[in-house]
Amino acid sequence: MLEYLVKRLLGIIPVIFAISVVVFAFVHLLPGDPARLVAGMDASLEDVAAVRKSLGLEGPLWQQYLHFACNALTGDFGISLKTRRPVITEIGERLMPTVWLTVFAMIWATIFGLLIGVLSAVKRGRWQDYGGMIVAVSGISFPSFWLGLLLIDLFSVRLGWLPTGGYGTWAHFVMPSFTLGLGVAAVMARFTRSAFVEIAREDYVRTARAKGVPEKFVIWKHTLRNALVPVITMTGLQFGFLLGGSIVVETVFSWPGLGRLLVDSVSYRDYPVIQAEILLFSIEFILINLMVDVLYAFANPEIRYK
């Protein structure tokens, strides 16, 4: 197991290198002189030269890349063009709200998604199945901005139970995490259902019954454990997407997260921030994938020994 982990971690290095090259190239792929673009059309030649120096755009490309990579390794992504504060501070402030929102959304979505999925699979073709799947399809089809607005209208404006937006207390989390998680729960429910139905046909489930295993263990132990393998992949992917920050949900609930930061920096052409965010998202994704693979190995011994 340890050997497997080390192998996988070593495997990450070339991937991160490749991503960093792409992120670095991003500035150079823009039309025109990035320094001129950043400094503004009216800037004097000296100003442009100063900007070029500050952006690390002097010298041959490989030197520039090294400069970028070394800085990035120490967490230095330069200064935000918009706020004139270090990029790392900007991102640091926004990171945790997004992470917490994602974690809460994922936790409830996974639990409910699994439960609904298993219930639908076990009661296949009966009203519980249809009910569960109607909820799931609605969850997927409901646009989150619309759902968010409805929730605000009901719970904040009419009932006055929850704040309309912002970040701080537990109450702030309720509506955004519900809105964010609904789609995930729906996908999870459908995924769990189909995986479960497939596994329930396997010979070893019949073997378990032939042993006299009570039905509840047949479901939760013998079947679910095997059905989890595809579900874990699903969860990992969803988690990765949500960590990028949901632009819509964060905007609707004025959530100070990475999603809104990305929108702001794109509209302001705040290149250093965009670069840092892309790099961050990529690394997050890689790490989550690694986690998924490790969980996989726990769930499925065949992978563990390969």
């Binding site: 010979d203 070893y204 019949r206 378990a208 019954r209 032939a210 006299g212 454990r225 499925n300």
Partner: protein
């Protein structure tokens, strides 16, 4: 039976009494009655074999007795399933509640299944899976259950049982997994073991081990066995009494010796006639078709014995294989380091004449299929020659090789998987004609009709789709497709292995009939020694990628010279209870692996001639020193 509690009822009252059992499945086309009005009994300690072909309802019966049929969409529509439990109380399982069934299943009645590869849960260890039943039914602690699991593994004669407890199923071979299944089933010392085709998926030498093991454990534990099988040979080997089923109904029931010696019903007679029996052609040099019994309504049947198959012509071989080698690399780790090689085919040489059938026999992994696939160029050869009328296929250009390819055709094992479900049968058969430009326009249709007639189907079948046909009919279609390009050599890779015995006999006869008409040469790849005896002029026995014995069929079967050939023949169940020998020594050991370290090819030496055209390996291969 000494440890059994004193039953409340009379001592000779049966363990199981099934009365008027009906099982139904709801399908789109209405209710399908899988079992109709079936009655039988099982006495304590005896073996009742339920035999029948696919669709006979034999497996449904066993699942109904376990009340597992509900989970497969079936329903017990009537009848009684009386079972006398350990406490001496007779219960009707057909109306028992879920709780009662959970107490009975795995505890008083246990079951083993056909597919050992998929019947164990891949995510739990062997030890946990055996221990689960013990903990459930005997309330044992974790440690006690584990100790019991170990004891059971030793009971089923698994070498190194202790190390196996913490292993997962995928690390075990099929035979080992079936032993684990048996250990699991017997962990609670049930009064009845239901064995549903437990050896069908196993190699013949492993099958012999498992059958013997079940018999020994049955004697040790004094349990009854309900043995479900399609194989009359296995029935003869294990059964005290036999129940023959056909289309959901009981055809005949009786003591095994009686059923085999004096079958009363025409269906039983036909079934027995279709069973390939090893030794049926002893003393005859040439192959001979299966005698077919015409079943007449209301009993009675006529035997027709076929003349010997004297079809070999010419002296020059049509196909000659010289020193053929096919290996697969096994790579490991992130850098794909070469960690070993599968020596699938190792210096194999043989030849086939026009109208001759050469059988390649051996157990799984012996390289017989890879040899066929390499000749077909579905697999690249590492070295050697494949000469077709003296010209080397491996040395030809791509163009020429393609045109040669139509002269060698292939029939696969699984008729369900080898026809495209979305194409009509006619299209599938016509495809080789059009790709090789052998016919155009109207001529294609005529040719397809002719081919369908040749394989015993009707020309208007051409417009239908594969799902409308049975397994045997599909195999006929596959043969028609293979014949479309007028081949001279047909490679039949386990072409009858997936079929019911009566269908198997028909397909074998069809192949032999086609050989007679067209002077086809066959390479008949099979694991079934009895079928091989019927069809082949010459036989090559393969073991670990090498031919260990090759020669005229009569010589190889009547005087097997290699110990592996002898082991293979000894393992074949004999379809005659009078000849069964339950004291035969239990064959031990697994089939060794053909994977070796890189750059460590096995030793291959020239075969030694022991009779006319009869060659045998006289050097150490695998287990044989």
């Amino acid at each position: 039976m000494t440890a059994a509690p004193v039953p409340v009822a009379a001592p000779q009252s049966p363990l199981v009494r099934v009365d008027g059992l009906n099982v139904e499945f709801a399908t789109e086309g209405g209710v399908f009655r899988a079992v109709q009005d079936l009655s039988f009994h099982i006495d304590p300690g005896e073996t009742l074999a339920v035999v029948g072909e696919s669709g006979s309802g034999k497996s449904v019966t066993s699942l109904a007795l376990m009340r597992l049929i509900e989970f497969g969409g079936g329903r017990i529509a009537g009848g009684k399933l009386e079972f006398r439990g350990r406490d001496g109380v007779v219960r009707d399982l057909a109306s028992a509640d879920a709780q009662t069934m959970n107490r009975v299943r795995g505890n008083e009645i246990a079951m083993i299944f056909q597919e050992p590869m998929t019947s164990l849960n891949p995510v739990f260890t062997i030890g946990d899976q055996i221990a689960e039943a013990v903990r459930l039914h005997q309330g044992a602690s974790r440690a006690e259950a584990r100790a019991e699991a170990l004891a059971m593994l030793e009971k089923v004669r698994i070498p190194g049982a202790k190390g196996l407890l913490d292993r997962h199923p995928h690390q075990l071979s099929g035979g080992m997994r079936q032993r684990v299944m048996i250990a699991m089933a017997l962990a609670c010392r049930p009064k009845l073991l239901v064995a549903d085709e437990p050896t069908t998926a196993l190699d013949v030498t492993i099958q012999a081990q498992i059958l013997r093991l079940i018999r020994i454990l049955q004697d040790e534990m004094g349990m009854a066995v309900l043995f479900i099988t399609h194989d009359m040979g296995v029935v003869a080997e294990v059964a005290d009494r036999v129940l023959v089923m056909n289309k959901g109904r009981k055809v005949e029931e009786g003591v095994a010796e009686e059923i085999f010696a004096r079958p009363q019903h025409a269906y039983t007679r036909a079934l027995l006639a279709a069973v390939p029996r090893l030794g049926a052609l002893a003393g005859e040099p040439l192959p001979r078709r299966f005698p077919l019994v015409e079943i007449k309504e209301g009993g009675g049947g006529a035997f027709t014995e076929a003349p010997p198959q004297d079809t070999v012509t010419g002296s020059a071989p049509v196909l000659e294989v010289k020193n053929l080698v096919t290996r697969f690399d096994v790579r490991r780790g992130i850098f794909g380091r070469l960690s070993g090689r599968v020596h699938a085919v190792e210096q194999v040489s043989f030849s086939v004449k026009a109208g001759e059938t050469l059988a390649l026999v051996g157990e799984s992994g012996c390289g017989k299929s890879t040899t066929g696939r390499t000749i077909m160029q579905l697999q690249a050869a590492d070295s050697g020659q494949i000469l077709f009328h003296g010209r080397d296929l491996l040395a030809m250009g791509a163009q020429e090789r393609r045109s040669m390819r139509q002269k060698i055709q292939y029939v696969f094992q699984d008729p369900f998987a080898s026809l495209d479900p979305r194409l009509t049968v006619g299209f599938s058969i016509a495809e080789p004609l059009t790709t090789h430009n052998l016919a155009t326009g109207k001529a294609v249709e005529e040719r397809v009709a002719e081919l369908l007639r040749d394989v015993g189907l009707s020309p208007d079948h051409a417009r239908r789709y594969p799902h409308e046909f049975s397994g045997g009919q599909r195999q006929r279609i596959c043969i028609a497709r293979a014949l479309a390009s007028e081949p001279e050599v047909l490679i039949a890779d386990e072409a009858v292995a997936a079929l019911d015995v009566s269908i198997q006999a028909q397909i074998v006869n069809l192949l032999m009939e086609l050989q007679e008409k067209r002077r086809l040469s066959y390479i008949f790849i099979s694991h079934d020694m009895a079928v091989v005896e019927r069809v082949s002029h010459r036989v090559a026995v393969m073991y670990l990628g090498q031919i260990v014995e090759i020669g005229p069929r009569q010589a190889v079967f009547d005087h097997p010279a290699h110990p592996y050939t002898r082991r293979l023949m000894a393992a074949v169940p004999i379809a005659d209870p009078a000849r069964r020998d339950r004291e035969r020594p239990l064959l031990e050991g697994e089939i060794p692996s053909a994977i070796r370290a890189p750059n460590d090819p096995p030793e291959v030496r020239a075969l030694v001639e022991v009779g006319e055209g009869h060659f045998v390996a006289r050097y150490s291969i695998g287990d044989f020193r």
